[in-house]
């Protein structure tokens, strides 16, 4: 077979625009997802049975349904109840809500894995639950939460390619647009794989750096 190098040269900068959108969508979703996930994760550790149940039900729903359906729900179903978002923000919202559920589990697991003696020791010097969480449990949990959270963010970046189905002009969609005009699937999909691979490698490297810089004990 022959590789159409001319198209590769033309496509590379076009795909870069898509890659920028992928980065934007992923970064926004990661920030919102981490925030919502942290809040939900902490809620699932709270004393309130209602809060715990709400989070458990939410996590169960997200885990029990395909992301693609969640994206369709946000994009097509929300307008029915009067919430109209463009493709970009619908995509960000869908990815954020999805990531939040997994982040919540990481936070709950990370804090829950800390030895019970830590809470007891903090209690015995008169700390209240909020103080125990902030000063004793979370500082110890951060470190062990970095690797699983990195995995979640990596999934999130990969999952963002699904947003092509609602016409978010991210990396995958940009590639498809070129393919539909020039019919060069091999070149473009290979190029797409390279782009994603580089993005994700950079992300893993970043995570290792963060982990390395966290205080050790």
């Amino acid at each position: 077979m022959t590789i159409d190098w001319a198209i590769v040269g033309k496509a590379a900068p076009l795909l870069l625009e898509g890659a920028v959108v992928t980065l934007q969508v992923s970064a926004l979703s990661a920030i919102i997802g981490l925030f919502l996930g942290a809040v939900s994760g902490l809620a699932s550790l709270s004393q309130s049975a209602l809060l715990r149940w709400v989070v458990a039900a939410y996590v169960d729903f997200i885990r029990g349904t395909p992301l693609l359906i969640q994206i369709f729900l946000v994009f097509f179903a929300l307008p029915v109840i009067g919430i109209r978002l463009d493709e970009f923000w619908a995509g960000v919202l869908a990815l954020s809500l999805n990531a939040a559920a997994f982040v919540a589990e990481v936070v709950r697991g990370g804090v829950g894995a800390i030895e019970k003696g830590q809470t007891e020791a903090a209690r015995s010097i008169g700390m209240k639950n909020g103080q125990i969480l902030v000063y004793i449990l979370l500082p110890q949990a951060y470190r062990q939460m970095v690797p699983p959270l990195t995995n979640e963010i990596i999934s999130l970046v990969k999952n963002s390619s699904l947003l092509s189905v609602i016409s978010v002009y991210e990396l995958t969609r940009a590639g498809q647009a070129i393919i539909s005009i020039h019919f060069v699937p091999f070149e473009i999909y290979t190029l797409l794989a390279v782009y994603y691979y580089v993005l994700l490698k950079a992300l893993s490297w970043l995570s290792r750096e963060v982990e390395r810089r966290l205080p050790q004990w």
Binding site: Q47, A121, S124, I125, Y135, P139, Q140
Partner: protein, 266 residues
């Protein structure tokens, strides 16, 4: 009869009355009554499973007792009676947290905070709970650590310290809260034999300084030497109690004799 009389001068620093605690269908404490006077050192001995640790953990409500009551300085711990002999109303989490700091608790496995230096392990309570300024809390921590012979180790994290050093940090952490009394739950059981003495030395000095202490331990020589009173627990009740000379010298109960014979073999 007890609930009515508040902190009269005759009231002991700690009063435990008819304390009961079970886990599932296991009845661990079956009605414990103990008075501890200010400045007294009481050592609790007994076989594992006799309820010693549970007793200690009930005092500062790390475990919630099923029945009975605990008074510290005339104040009920973990709740209040609505009237003398009236119904028991549990305290809020916040109110209970305020009461807990009056007991200094030393754990078998130290339970130091691994992410903090020795100094910060001790300072965090005074700063966050007692509301001292950061500099003041650190100065207090340094004094307490010096008192337990750790002046040279203040910047180390727990993982850099030996077991005996960690336990002494834990004692300093408890003391920095200026507790009314100290509770020791088998403080030397997790230590290598050569590290036991340095912890017992600190406890001995603390007892001599007039701190009220309740110590669960298997260190019989410590009990003999330091205790004002020894309590022998068996099957969730107090089987025998008395001054160490009497309890070790001429135990009255069969169970006590059997336990002491068993211990002597080690």
């Amino acid at each position: 009869m007890v609930s009515a009389e508040k902190a009269s001068s005759a009231f002991p620093l700690l009063r435990i009355e008819a304390l009961e605690k079970g886990f599932g269908d296991q009845h661990v404490l079956r009605g414990i009554d103990i008075d501890v006077g200010a400045g007294e050192t009481v050592v609790v001995i007994g076989a594992s499973g006799s309820g010693k640790t549970t007793l200690l953990r009930c005092l500062n409500h790390l475990e919630t007792p099923d029945a009975g009551a605990i008074w510290l300085d005339g104040e009920t711990i973990g709740g209040a009676f609505t009237a003398p002999r009236g119904a028991w109303r549990p305290a809020s989490q916040g109110a209970l947290a305020d009461q807990r700091r009056h007991f200094g608790f030393v754990f078998q496995r130290f339970n130091l905070f691994p992410h903090l230096t020795a100094r910060d392990n001790v300072a965090i309570g005074p700063e966050k709970v007692r509301g001292l300024a950061k500099a003041e809390a650190r100065a207090l921590a340094e004094r307490e650590l010096t008192r337990v012979q750790l002046a040279d180790h203040m910047d180390k994290r727990p993982v850099q310290l030996s077991g005996g050093q960690q336990q002494r940090v834990a004692i300093a952490r408890a003391l920095a809260m200026e507790p009314r009394m100290m509770l020791f739950d088998e403080p030397t059981s997790a230590l290598d034999p050569e590290l036991v003495q340095e912890v017992l030395d600190v406890m001995r000095a603390l007892s001599a300084s007039g701190m009220t202490m309740m110590v669960v331990t298997h260190e019989m020589s410590f009990a003999r030497e330091v205790a004002d009173r020894v309590i022998f627990m068996a099957g969730g009740v107090i089987a025998e109690e008395g001054p160490p000379e009497a309890l070790f010298g001429s135990p009255q109960e069969d169970a006590t004799r059997k336990f002491l014979r068993h211990i002597a073999r080690f």
